[in-house]
């Protein structure tokens, strides 16, 4: 069988599996639809969270990004894992005890205000749609490359699959398909990484291979890579070029943003007990860490391979994978000096760089670069699709529950019956799939630009509102609403200015204190905290029943069952 037959077979069988699971675990009540009946085991929920969280960007782009950024890529590694510590310690157990269906539910009840609820709903929908457009596009690109269909056809296939299991199964269907998707994606990620690690360092564990010796030269791999970097005029791989302050702020924005993303938070509503919620975050991070500690190793292997094998090679003698990927446009060679050799050099070199490499290629082309069997290439395609589909489904659920539960039932028609609400949730999920598909086919030019926005917004809005809602009884509705608005406005204004209005000024010289738009969410968060605390001191304290609610969510007993409590 050739690459395409393998790809087709692996992708088709993984899709058949997802659909079978969706039929088996379909939702029969709103409780099933929003929170999977709160019957998910912490281990399964951890896996589902990991698949939900790790998107096409984590699977396809992250190792490549790190490969090009070196030390600076650490912001993604620490930022997208450290947030789980915040989730476990500061959010998940208390929100599970509160026991709502959505994040705006908590914000609305804790701050006894419809306005707070509406602000939260708008943020949840915006953040989720921003994200989901990129996921649908990712599905299209993977299909386009590996099955050689049009990118748009790929998006339609992805829409049909997600439609099926998100609309039918709700949170329950999504959770169990995500468990399967995690298994597919982690297997697909680790297999090529293990092969590469063996090939380059002789150690089968990529995490150890990263610190091992380069088989070819006998020196530590990172020394070899730093040497190649110096020789070719790139900045040292292990040092990085961003300012320390900027690295600090970006990492913080990503961590806090992660902890504030509604589609991640809502996952911890699905387990039976508070202690399961704590445990479940731990499992989620274990499963995420498996990929996130492999990625920097893959980045180093791929980088060393690329620099060592391509740079200085005559163009006429390039390996087959080089020509394959040239055809996709992700790899481009322009023989500027006409000597027939490929000069791949950095800014400090006296030569002119002649090779442009898209970061996504580092993971997608790895199996071919390393000469791995055809089935591994097919596996990577199935893994990329699993990552994109699982994240898309989780996001679409947030949008549909925001519409049917928070807006329809919470704000406009509180007397709606359970059956009607379930129908509304399904219709909303269906509509959300259509909108997401539309955004995937016609991506607004700024999608790539606004990913920072999704994190910044989550960091500047939800995170402070939820934390203070739990840890400070004195926080008032007025404080929280004004705080969220101030945080969002600061963050949004900064990002919109530098990304959309004056992109030509987007350099360190023009930033506030050298903080890039990616890191401004941290500032927005600090603004939110300050405004909320200040306004809360100036407004009358929250009503008695709200203070009692805060007391109640602080202790675990009573989350799953009815009983008397003697404190």
């Amino acid at each position: 069988m050739n690459v395409q037959a393998w790809t087709f077979m692996l992708v088709a069988s993984s899709f058949a599996l997802y659909i079978a699971i969706a039929v088996w675990s379909r939702a029969s009540s709103t409780r099933d639809f929003y929170v999977a009946g709160t019957g998910v085991s912490p281990l399964a929920n951890g896996m589902a969270t990991a698949a939900d969280w790790m998107s096409a960007a984590s699977f396809i782009s992250m190792a490549g990004l790190i490969s090009f950024m070196g030390y600076d890529g650490s912001v993604y590694l620490m930022g997208w894992t450290g947030g789980y510590v915040l989730l476990a310690l500061l959010l998940a157990p208390y929100l599970r005890k509160f026991g709502a269906y959505t994040v705006p539910d908590f914000v609305g009840d804790r701050y006894y205000s419809q306005n707070a609820r509406i602000v939260a709903v708008v943020c949840a929908i915006f953040v989720s749609f921003t994200y989901v457009a990129g996921q649908m596009r990712g599905v299209g690109i993977v299909f386009g490359r590996f099955l050689e269909v049009d990118v748009n056809v790929g998006v339609y296939i992805g829409m049909a699959i997600v439609f099926f299991y998100a609309v039918l199964g709700g949170m329950k269907g999504i959770t169990y398909t995500q468990v399967a998707q995690y298994c597919v994606l982690i297997f697909a990620y680790l297999v090529p990484a293990i092969f590469l690690s063996l090939l380059i360092t002789g150690n089968p564990v990529p995490q150890l291979g990263l610190g091992g010796l380069d088989q070819a030269s006998g020196v530590p791999l990172l020394d070899r890579l730093n040497g190649l970097h110096e020789e070719l005029g790139f900045a040292a791989y292990t040092s990085g070029t961003k300012s320390t302050l900027d690295v600090f702020f970006i990492t913080a924005a990503l961590m806090v943003g992660t902890a504030g993303l509604p589609h991640v938070i809502v996952r911890f509503y699905t387990v039976p007990r508070v202690r399961d919620a704590r445990m479940s975050v731990g499992w989620a991070l274990v499963f995420i860490a498996l990929l996130y500690t492999t990625a920097p190793a893959v980045a180093v292997f791929a980088r060393t391979n690329l620099l060592g094998s391509v740079s200085g090679t005559p163009y006429a003698e390039v390996p087959e994978w080089f020509s394959n990927w040239e055809a996709t446009g992700l790899l481009a060679f322009d023989d500027v000096n006409g000597d027939g050799l490929i000069q791949f050099v950095g800014p400090a070199s006296t030569l002119t760089n002649e090779l442009t490499v898209d970061q996504d290629i580092m993971v997608l082309a790895n199996p071919e670069i390393a000469g791995l069997p055809d089935w591994v290439v097919g596996l990577v395609a199935a893994g990329g699709l699993a990552a994109a589909l699982s994240t898309a489904a989780g996001l679409l659920l947030v949008v549909s529950s925001a519409v049917s539960h928070d807006l329809l039932k919470g704000a406009f028609k509180p007397d709606i019956t359970e059956k009607q609400e379930l129908v509304a949730a399904r219709l909303a999920a269906g509509a959300a799939v259509l909108v997401a598909g539309y955004l995937g086919v016609n991506p607004p030019g700024f999608v790539a630009q606004v990913v920072a926005f999704a994190f910044g917004l989550a960091a500047a809005s939800f995170f402070p509102a939820i934390i203070l809602g739990i840890f400070s009884k004195r926080t008032t509705g007025e404080g929280a609403v004004l705080g969220m608005i101030a945080g969002i406005t600061t963050t949004a204004a900064y990002i919109v200015y530098f990304k959309l209005v004056r992109p030509e000024l987007n350099t360190a010289d023009h930033w506030w204190f050298g903080i890039s738009p990616e890191g401004i969410g941290t500032v927005g968060m600090l603004v939110n905290f300050s405004v909320t605390l200040l306004v809360s001191r100036l407004t009358p304290e929250p009503p008695e029943h709200v203070q009692a609610l805060v007391e109640r969510i602080r202790i675990p007993r009573g989350a799953g069952e009815a009983h008397e409590i003697s404190a």
Binding site: M78, L222, R275, T293, P296, R552, R557, S566, A567
Partner: protein, 103 residues
């Protein structure tokens, strides 16, 4: 709100010294664990990364600051959550606020 929540603690526990003590202990755990969280990522991985890079992780070729930023901090994060789970489960039992198995 949870279906089975009786809200009894709202009355019984409010201002109760046992519950205040439970919360104080919880906060103390949080401060301790989050200090470690901050130290390994923002401390070793970012602010002190450059000086730490002068040293290698023993037995490997990885500079220490770089290792904390790309590997070490993640392992510590995982460990922190499991330590927290153990501490809190014990604390819940000690203060008799742990959950019984759902029926």
């Amino acid at each position: 709100m949870s279906d089975g929540d009786t809200g009894a603690v709202g009355g019984a526990g409010r201002g109760g010294s046992r519950q205040r003590e439970y919360w104080r202990r919880n906060i103390r755990y949080l401060v301790g664990l989050l200090s470690v969280w901050f130290l390994v990522s923002y401390g070793f991985g970012i602010l002190l990364a450059e000086p730490l890079n002068a040293f290698r992780v023993p037995g490997t070729g990885i500079p220490v600051g770089f290792w904390f930023a790309q590997q070490g901090s993640i392992y510590v994060f995982v460990a922190l959550i499991f330590v927290y789970v153990r501490l809190m489960n014990r604390l819940d039992r000690e203060f008799d606020v742990d959950e019984r198995d759902p029926a």
